[in-house]
Amino acid sequence: MFYHLFIYKLKILLRKKTLLFWTFLFPFILGLFFKLALGNIGAAFEFEPINIAVVNNEEYKLDTNLNSIITSLSSDDKNKIFNTKYVNEEEAITLLDDKKVAAYIIIKDKNPELRVKSSGIQETIIKYVLDQYYQTNDTVNNMIKFNPEVVKNGILNLVAKQNNYVLDDSNEKIDFTLNYFLTLIAMTCLYGGLIGLEVIKDYEANLSPNGARSCVSPIHKIKLLSSGLLAGFVIQIVILILLIAFLIVVFDVNINNHLPKLFLLSSVGCLAGTLLGTFVGVSNKKSEGFKIGLLIAVLMACCFFSGMMGSPQVKTMFDEALPLFAKINPINIITDGLYALFAYDTFDSYYNCLLRIGVFAIVMAILTFIFVRRKNYDSI
């Protein structure tokens, strides 16, 4: 009988087109949009040499200090910061107007000036380089004032020598697009709630005529419910496997380390999602449309707090501002657990998240059980 109930529930669920759209197609479509929009975003964080123009007038030619700074920072080596064009003032203005350069430098009355169109990161970098020109000049003056011997003993020659005091030690795993795909997997797990909602609707007498019919049938309620939930869970697992395979193979998302652990956490997440749906279904007597709307709205809000709809900082901001909510938000728990697999060498954070999402699933199961147990109706 269990097998019979399971197979028929599976067939019924697979024929619900709207349900399949939200649980199956929508995550794929959203993933496609993420890939299209964010596929190139890593390049935005890379440093590219900045295009600048220098007005090559007589004053510039005479200023050897500035000349050497600009030349050294424009040479084709690993310290290259500028792509420099040497032009007259009219050409410099045209280049700036046409956005071919971020700024141009001109020396007027022996003072370098920076001309820009707006304030921005590139303009700030150029400004810091030119500041160095003034600050080094001031330093030389102060040194000579303090110890005139520096002119004779060669200490001043150190001005031309620029030491590097910064050693790049960036070995952290950073992929700014990853969080979007992790929240997408978490969202897919929790969208199992829609399946849970659909299953419970057909087994509760006060929710649908089908439910009333099921309740008068001579089958134990636990058998009815568990077969339906198992059918929903199986569909969810298949969707999850397809999504993960799609993300890894087609979108080349870097989540293929520790696949069994990733699958375990996501599966528990699917279970939690399905049970969340059953809880929403039995906890109130509102219309089906209201419950679906409520579930989607709550899950979308959870996705927002987990950083799906904003810059990477949004998640951190909410994690710090609402630490308790961050710990119980199921989307956030799954996202954090998957991130731990990607980022850390140890698995303690991962197991912590696995435990939390497991507890969430158990709490939802207990709450559902409290609502469905020992119900008798004289009339509906």
Partner: protein, 378 residues
């Protein structure tokens, strides 16, 4: 006007959707444009964390110097914390100053501070600042000054800065806010119009309703005329709500030539969205499908056309593909308006051309709708 009244009764039922998308548009604009308008140059401030293992006055002064041009973020000296802060972009870079750094520096041993970067461009600023600071310290130290004197002098030297002049288009910051608001209306208009007009079309295209209308005393032409009037009025009302919000948010900017051109652009796009929604409404039979189509079309067009993510960050093939949708041309208008400071014919012609292309898309959708209706009747 029974059909017209029913039309707005249905709209009233979906008022929540209109309010929700308008609120999202306004909130996103406010969050994304939460910076001041500026006529003078302002250096960009990056987020930096400093882990200091060397207690010296020179390093303390270095931290104060970095703090002047950056936002110092407090994080724990822990590998996991570093990973989280860089991954979440909470910091653009982390500077780790080793023990005995100052001693080695003053002994000319060329020590190094470690940098962990998440954002190459933003951390470049800190690298430049750091190298400059310690190079100047090195110079002062070699001239024979003691620590106290070095700090006193270097602080004076660091106060010397180059003069920066913003020339020409100096109100780009306020223009960016306007650009952001109107670019986001791409998503809001598509989502609202497809949902509401699509739902209304579905309701009026139901077989039972069509049969009932056919035998009613109200002529079919009159029914279609009232529906058309409803579409026009709804489009104008929703567009006007957004115009009013734009005036509230950007008072001064809206009463300029630039503001007027944005308003005209948004009207053209609102009309085309209505035509698109009408076309989708003729294709769909079930109301339950509308929200799915609405989400896919509005999110999809917003992602690929540059409404959500700046077009410069998108792949060029995707940008080229998006040219077959009106959203591309609407974002194009908005970008041209953001970029234009003169309003002569040379500058205005491409903008007018984009308006016409947007409206041509509207006409195309109406023609397609007519063809679909004709095909269905057959």
């Amino acid at each position: 006007m029974i059909v017209f009244n029913k039309y707005f009764k249905i709209v009233k039922q979906h008022l929540g959707t209109i309010i929700m998308f308008t609120a999202i548009c306004v909130i996103v604009t406010i969050i994304n444009t939460n910076y001041n308008t500026q006529d003078s140059f302002k250096s960009v401030e990056n987020n930096i964390a400093i882990i200091n293992h060397d207690n010296s006055k020179i390093v303390d002064n270095y931290i104060k110097y970095i703090d002047k041009g950056s936002n110092l973020i407090d994080i724990k000296d822990d590998k996991k914390e570093f990973q989280d802060a860089l991954y979440s972009n909470k910091v653009d870079a982390i500077i780790i100053i080793p023990e005995n750094f100052t001693k080695d520096l003053l002994d000319n041993k060329n020590p190094s501070v470690k940098i962990k970067k998440s954002n190459q461009s933003f951390s470049m600023i800190t690298e430049l600042q750091t190298n400059k600071y310690f190079n100047l310290i090195n110079l002062y130290a070699n001239s024979g000054m003691d620590e106290e004197l070095i700090i006193e002098n270097i602080n004076k030297s660091l106060d010397k800065e180059v003069e920066v002049k913003i020339i020409g288009n100096n109100d780009l910051a306020s223009k960016a806010k306007l650009y952001m608001f109107f670019s986001f209306t791409n998503y809001s208009f598509l989502a609202i119009f497809i949902f509401i007009i699509g739902t209304i079309m579905c309701i009026f295209n139901k077989e039972t309703i069509v049969k009932r209308n056919t035998i009613s005393s109200e002529g079919l032409k009159s029914i279609y005329r009232q529906l058309l009037l409803g579409h026009i009025l709804l489009t104008l009302i929703i567009w006007l709500v957004y115009v009013i919000f734009s005036i509230i948010l950007f008072k001064e900017m809206m009463f300029t030539m630039n503001g007027l051109l944005y308003i005209i652009g948004s009207l053209c796009f609102a009309i085309t969205c209505t035509c698109l929604a009408y076309f989708i409404g003729t294709l769909i039979k079930k109301e339950s499908i509308i929200s799915g189509v609405q989400n896919v079309v509005s999110l999809g067009l917003s992602f690929i056309s540059g409404s959500f993510v700046d077009r410069t960050l998108l792949d060029s093939s995707i940008v080229n593909f998006s040219k077959i949708f009106p959203s591309y041309w609407y974002i194009d208008v908005n970008y041209r308006l953001y970029d234009t400071s003169t309003y002569n014919m040379d500058a205005l012609m491409p903008i007018f051309k984009d308006y016409i292309i947007i409206l041509l898309f509207g006409i195309l959708f109406i023609i397609l709708s007519k063809l679909v209706v004709k095909f269905k009747r057959k």
